[in-house]
Symmetry: C5
Subunit: 338 residues, 5 copies
């Protein structure tokens, strides 16, 4: 997530420069063919370009709407995890009661630390790279990666969850396919034991189980966004239409400026180049922005800041446990918050 | 579901080639009539084409929005089934308690296997073919079927659910009209027995019943999307308008290029052919993409991957039962995940 | 609901033919006035038509979006009723327990039959005709009625619910204004009696009451869509704008073709007629489709199939009761499923 | 709410006539200046008008979408109140149990009448006039008020709720700022007393309290729509853009017709007047419709019919109490249902 | 929130005047270069401007839709807080029961005052300034700040919550990072104590805990909107596209008017200036309105009125406690309600 007021225009142009070069090349070639080689039929009428522009605007607008929705839904789910974590913390504090206050706090810490393990397993899983994600395959995204770090790519899951689990649970968790699910299962199994020993009465037990269900629910929703891409058929046509439009733009402009040759001389035709680049850039940027917003957990600059949010939750729950040696909050690097 | 970065352009063109041939034929015929037979009134003005193009873009955009919503809702429902299955698994593990640990695990397995039977019955039912689905009737879809398999069309329901049910329940289930509903009913009847024998206390009983209700709810939502097509009146006008537009496009282009004949000679009129094909193709692709996204459970390449998801759930729940001989995960074939 | 692949184009044209005649008449009159009577100022510029076309496309698109939403929401509510009916059936089977198994099944049947009475009362009420519904007032809709039947218009509520209720309850229900509400009240009053006699323990009692609440909720939502039309102010402007556009279309085309008279002769002006009819038809169809999708319970061909769904529910619940003499499922007639 | 098939076109034109006069005046003035005073630079090109038209169509379309959503949400909330009232009635009937049947019915009546008081207080509060509502300030709305009555403006709250409350509660309610909230509080306080005296067991008590919470929730949602207008910044730009467009329309038409002067003579310029009026009217109507749909509780002809719905609820609940002397249902006056 | 009928046009123009100056400067410069320096190639064709205008209208429309949604969602959340506060008040009154009525009211007051502390902490936190908020950095917003006050910027949190908390709780709350969360935790801890001492029975205890969970949920949703800006990539392209359009508008108009030079003389070219300013202003206003609606808690004139709403809740809950010395309601200043 970018926390600045706006992206700087120079960063934007730099980020999209490869596509600018391409459309520049096309328009120079076409104009050269027209101007020096007199391929006059390149001066096509404007109407197909206008119609193609309208269709492309529809498809690009549609894509941006849907990818925005994906990002916003992802943020909503993370918000639910934050709220459910707070509620879970408060419930653990008030529903898990032992005579001995020290044992009580130790028991509560066990649950809350296991929750940290779940949060960590979840964010590592969400930052894995899927076959349809572009963050490490497109050159313009790779370049941008030097401005920020993706903590989940640099850290190691086992090391990070070790402090939160017993050796036995750590082992069991690492053996499973979906660690996060099984960490919730451990919480539930522990609650069962307390309930069986009459250390947790039925209504409180059910309330805590419901809270675990909420967390599983949010986990499932995150996985849905992670594992189900913006449908590739829509993403593909958005790419094809934009490319087709950028191909025809210079031809259309040559057509338009060719009408002005009588009045201003044939040099005027070269204005087709800057206009093609500018208008083409507008549509290419729309396309590239759409692509970079599709996957809110891919490790990109526009990601939902899951590392930061997990850390915030950790701080709040540690405060609830009465800890004072709190970890620092994650801060944005170059205005990028992960 | 396609798991690649984008559909390949050549696959797209191949998939839509029949329509390309048709529009090519139209535009060649019209241009021939104009060029060789001097039917000059074919050179109609552009304005009706522009207006028709706007209306078609609206209708196509609307269709794509709604079919996208259908697919995304289908994926949400499957996500709920995934989450509710996990929760059901955890509840079965922690709420169904017997003194004898072996009997306990056997009882739990009975419930979880019956759940697998439900999942299987549901996905077979969702992959049946409805009268409005095109996957087996349109030639371009039939052709594409050789790139992937639809497991539900090749397998046999009875064989697949046999391992999960007692002989008696299998028989009873196969006799009913809607197997999935009645499998949930069996779960509930079994819970009733446990509750009557005081082996399941009231709050846990109610919680498990609520979980069954959630599963029934998701099943009903899947059936809603399966049994209620995108309204045929909207689908029909999308088809008619696109066809009308493609019919008029060559006429409009002939009209536009006829204005340039004085300047560039009458050969220029033949440019109407490639432009008609390209712009027509854009709208035809929009239409065909819309059609192929309408039904997320029809067995198409853009389906929600219900076979894969059922298998994932099976693996996770078997892990909960402590099984180690786990089935393999379904993988994409030619980037298509079912 | 239409269950075919698409509406046939000939049915569409037949269904909209009156409007086609009107726009044909207008365009012939205007062209005659221009061609024979030389009212040359009828050749207005195209720009007002284009602007009007854009505004009309917005309003028509908006209307189609909202009427689609109404239909889809109606289908969602019916889906909830289906799911809640299944859950109600399962709960009745497992929560209403008597020592004597025969008495138990008789008691359960009483509740489930009363539920059928509720379903029947609801669908009769939803298929009544409201002052803003067009199915019986517009000639094109009346004509279409011969292709299918509306069972609620042919049957009689009293006869249909008689088999499901005691004589006393039948009488009481028929006296009330809103039968469906009071049938739910009878269910609740019966539950109260069982609870008072200690034949139904508190948690199960509350769960069943909640289920009745869900059914009431869905009933209220159906009534909302039935009793609150698509706001008439929006429906009216959609009609006015489309009419205005169709009035101006021939004038605009006369204007455009009048520019070509010098080149192709004055006969060319008659092309305004077919183009006006075609483009006008596009907008008129949009308008008529919108109108015919507004009210999903009016007895039209695009209705949500409530008769079919009620029957499906009845079959499933009778299977739960162990009945084997099941009624037949409602099937589509001429591809129309009610 | 209008219950007719469509608004009559003559009512529409009458309702918008002041704006029609204004745009008529503008276009006559501009055309006069051009025709008689030869201010030829008034003949501006069409392109700015087209661009402004597009922007205005976007903004007007957006406004109509959002105001439609406000109205539809208001109707949904009222639907919830209707359903929750029915459920409340059924719960009161079945959960409030006394040995003495006469005392029981008296107790139930007390709760249900207090509910009528709440409904009445709520609808009086919703029909108060806010500073951003136009129903009594715009002349065209004031005029229209003679076609229907707003019962809440003619009645008096105290008189209307007096029959439903004890003298003491009436006094206490009238002293508070938000009567509806405190009437719910009285319901809850009464339930507490019954619970304390062991006349209402815990699960039923909690269920009734939850029902009150639902009613409070719907009340809060109504107040949200009532107290938070469609943001004035959006409403303002919609007004400004439409006005600007209507100012430029005649100039644009003069520009277009001035091109035809050589062909048809300078009289042709006067066609700018009727076209400006018609196209301007389309956008003005869109604007005025949007304005009149913004506030669904302002006492306008397009209001959600809260008086009618309250009365329907009253009738149904009185039937539940076994009353036979039922009030009449509110009916539409001149097709307007309040 | 603005409570007037509309923003005054003069305020709007004043608020956007800097941007008007800029576009005025551009258009004067370009026209001067064309008119006096004969840079005739500045007269570019209109088509790129039209295409850019369409793309900008899409992006601006999209932004306004999403920022409207943010504001509306914020208002919904605040509405939930209002409703949940009322319900909490009623529950505190009816669920917290002591023999001694004076002690009871004192206990109830403790909970309700702590709730006021939570409301206060929440609104102070929501009115802090984020790095992407513009209210204090843009000159046009700073200027507007003199028309109204932001109470949270003038007051001091500690002073305002002191009357509502014990000295000990005040201290503890101020030490934490997120005061609101921990104030809810104090409520829960207090409930636990009552429950442990058997002063609060299980169902009522659970109901109150659920109410706290709802409040935490709404708090989390507010924080989501506060802490997650409208994605900066979308905000950035909206800014860039609008700027590009305003740059090209004068060039496009010069192009259009240059066609009229032969007819009306070269002075006509200066009409490009007022038209550029007007049409540019339309798009600039759209952009600035979008920006000023993005963050509903930034302290701007279009904010959700959280100070006013908190005060209303306080008044209603104090009335429930039987207090008569009520604080005054916050009123709008210059039509701005905070």
């Amino acid at each position: 997530m970018n926390t600045a007021n706006n992206y700087k225009i120079k960063h934007f142009i730099w980020w999209t420069r490869v596509k600018v070069y391409k459309i520049l090349a096309f328009s120079v070639i076409f104009t050269t063919l027209f101007y020096f080689f007199h391929l006059e039929w390149l001066a096509i009428p404007w109407v197909p370009v206008a119609l193609l522009g309208t269709a492309t605007a529809f498809i690009s607008g549609f894509r941006n709407t849907q990818t925005y929705n994906r990002t916003w839904e992802a943020r909503q789910i993370l918000g639910s995890i934050e709220t459910d974590s707070r509620t879970f913390g408060i419930m653990v504090k008030d529903f898990l009661r032992l005579e001995n206050k020290e044992e009580e706090i130790a028991l509560q810490r066990q649950f809350i630390y296991r929750h940290f393990a779940w949060l960590t397993a979840l964010r590592f899983q969400l930052r894995e790279t899927k076959s349809w994600e572009n963050i490490q395959t497109r050159s313009y995204n790779r370049e941008f990666l030097r401005y920020y770090h993706v903590p989940e790519w640099e850290g190691n899951l086992e090391n990070e969850i070790k402090p939160f689990l017993s050796a036995e649970e750590l082992q069991a968790a690492l053996l499973t396919k979906n660690r996060a699910t099984h960490l919730i299962r451990f919480q539930s199994a522990h609650l069962r034991k307390l309930n069986e020993k009459d250390m947790l009465i039925a209504p409180n037990y059910i309330a805590l189980e419901n809270q675990l269900k909420s967390l599983l629910d949010s986990q499932g929703k995150c996985e849905r966004i992670k594992n189900f891409p913006y449908p590739r058929q829509f993403s593909s046509i958005s790419l094809y239409f934009t490319s087709a439009l950028c191909f025809f733009l210079p031809l259309g402009f040559i057509g338009e400026f060719s009408k002005l040759i009588d009045k201003y001389g044939s040099h005027i035709i070269w204005l087709a180049v800057p206009l093609s680049v500018l208008i083409g850039w507008v549509f290419l940027v729309l396309e590239q922005i759409g692509e970079s917003t599709e996957n809110p957990f891919e490790g990109g600059a526009n990601d939902v800041p899951i590392t930061h949010m997990s850390r915030s939750i950790e701080i709040e729950l540690r405060e609830m446990l009465g800890e004072t040696n709190l970890p620092a909050s994650y801060e944005p690097i170059n205005d990028i918050l992960m």
